[in-house]
Amino acid sequence: MTEILQVTIFGLLLGGVYALFASGLTLAFGVMRIVNLAHAVFIVAAAYATFFAFEELGIDPLVSIIWLVPLFFILGVGLYMTFFVRIEGSPRYVEMTVLLTFGIAIMIEGLLGWRFTGIYRQTQPSYLTDAYFWGDYIVPAGQLYAALLSLILLIALWLFLRFTRVGYGIRATMQNRDAAQLVGVNVRRVSAISFGISTAFAGAGGAFMSYLFPFFPFRHWQWIALLLALVVLGGMGSLKGAVAGALILGVASSLVVDQIGAGWGPMAFYAALFGILLVRPQGLFGKEAVA
């Protein structure tokens, strides 16, 4: 029992970080119908930025979030204005976003591989090996900080969407793009901002990835597979669903690792994806079938 609870604690901490990784992905789909296959490569790029800031300048990964978020926001808005504005009226739009982001992902992966080679990296802040003890249970410090900060960022996003003017615009666009446009929402501006927020969250996620999960350029494919599975489980475009999916799969994959073996953890994600497609294709919190 103790062991199961301990594994559940690990799983929830992981799930918190997964939720942050996936939030931007589901936001991009919810607002702009963009299936962003480049989302994970943004996270990996941010992890590289964090890594070198730490190695060269001694900046702590958690402090790096302060500059990563605005930097990746600007990058996201720039990418949106450069690429996605061009395909707005394209007939098979969702499919087009998949192919376009696929190309962008390959491009960034190639750039990262060319500049930084394919070797594994991991930032080594002092708290990486620290732990807190809560009764009989171990709570690794680095994971705890990551999960707490992820939670704070997600709450901030929720408050922003709920209580600001831009947030209203974003939610209106999520519900019905055409109607939002009709009632005076500047849909293009809202889309660019949303994509910026989406990549800004990838930027913040990179800070955590840099010390929690060893990375190299090609790694992002595995991450995007996991994150997409998680987002489909929760319901594409649903933030609530992404958080729920992340926590469920964080715990489930930790249990799989504990019970079956270290290599089998991601299987929980794929099993969940194919399982949910069989019984409820729209996902746990999805309102409509994924179309």
């Binding site: 696929f102 591989g113 996991l226 794929y270 069989l278």
Partner: protein
């Protein structure tokens, strides 16, 4: 069922016209094909006449393999518009289905290659039954997940050699002619997949797939059994990829999960089909030849595969934004398409 072409569920006139195939004099293009085929058939016999024989045959074999892969991908991704980013999974399954009997029992992959293809078809059917229940992005996402799921499974099963894979014996023939059997095998796969692609393009089934690409709801209303068609297209597009996988592993003398079950291979198929012109018969062939040439050039020029990846990405984005119809599609639109490239 669609009987009357003009009534094909509100299809755009171009589509109906493009599919209402038999047109134009085919003689000159058959001439080109005959010359190409004879040239290819004779290539492995040219050992006494060219210096860089091994390199030439290897490059040609490689080109033929990619023609088979890109043409196969096009059957689903081109005609029906359902993008699969996990097609490398069929290459891996074919590779292992041939490698395991060879490694454990010494059965030649030249005998089991078809089984590799059929195993890929079976996987396509099962995966299609689950993932093609929905439309749009869920399918694409499941294809990536399928690929990584298989990578995970193959890396964790000891019988299959785990992450290290299985070493395979070399073909028991003279070193001088070692490359020839693989060349002919890949030639069969390439021709087979082009013929399959052509047959699909010119059948009622292919018409149904194009209708799905155009507007799935309309296609369904018009009586196209969309789900059934999509699953069949997915399975058909797996066959020659599986066969090619069986041959590829044998020619490399090993199979390894990270080499076969990788997004990089899927990405190349997508890139080739799109650059050449997806949804056309000749497009993926042109795309494959072009990309194999570009890769070869950049490898000898820059010597790193990272630059290769970067170039692939830049090419894909550029083509999507500026020539979404690809080479064949763009030429046809401008009425500049030479007859020997017009097979639609």
């Amino acid at each position: 069922m669609i009987e009357d072409r003009a009534d094909a569920g509100g299809l755009e006139p171009e589509v109906v016209e493009a599919v209402a195939a038999p047109k134009g004099p085919g003689r000159s293009r058959w001439g080109v094909v005959a010359v190409l085929l004879v040239g290819l058939l004779l290539l492995p016999l040219s050992r006494p006449f060219i210096d860089s024989y091994n390199y030439t045959v290897l490059l040609a074999t490689n080109g033929l393999m990619w023609i088979a892969l890109a043409s196969s991908w096009n059957i689903l991704g081109g005609y029906s518009g359902y993008i699969s980013l996990g097609h490398a999974v069929f290459l891996g399954v074919g590779g292992y289905v041939a490698a395991v009997p060879l490694f454990y029992y010494g059965v030649s992959p030249f005998l089991t290659a078809l089984a590799g293809g059929l195993a890929a078809v079976a996987l396509g059917l099962v995966a299609g039954l689950i993932t093609l229940r929905t439309r749009g992005p869920a399918f694409i996402i499941s294809t990536i997940a399928l690929l990584f799921m298989f990578l995970l499974i193959f890396e964790n099963i000891d019988y299959l050699g785990g992450t290290a894979g299985l070493p395979l014996p070399v073909v028991p023939i003279s070193r001088d002619w070692l490359k020839a059997p693989f060349f002919y095998a890949m030639l069969i796969a390439a021709v087979g997949s082009i013929v399959l692609s052509y047959q699909v393009a010119h059948s009622k089934f292919g018409l149904g797939l194009r209708a799905i690409a155009e507007d799935e709801t309309k296609a369904e209303v018009a009586g196209v059994p969309t789900r059934f068609y999509k699953i069949i297209a997915f399975a058909l597009s797996a066959f020659w990829v599986g066969v090619a996988g069986a041959m590829w592993g044998y020619s490399l003398a090993f199979v390894r999960p990270t080499l076969f079950f990788t997004v990089a291979i899927s990405a190349q198929m997508v890139l080739m089909a799109i650059i050449g012109g997806r949804g056309t018969v000749a497009g993926p062939v042109i795309g494959a030849v072009l990309i194999v040439a570009v890769n070869e050039f950049s490898l000898t020029q820059f010597g790193s595969s990272e630059i290769n990846i970067l170039i692939s990405g830049v090419l894909l984005v550029t083509v999507l934004l500026f020539f979404p119809l690809g080479i064949v599609g763009t030429l046809r639109e401008k009425r500049l398409l030479p007859a020997f490239l017009d097979w639609d």
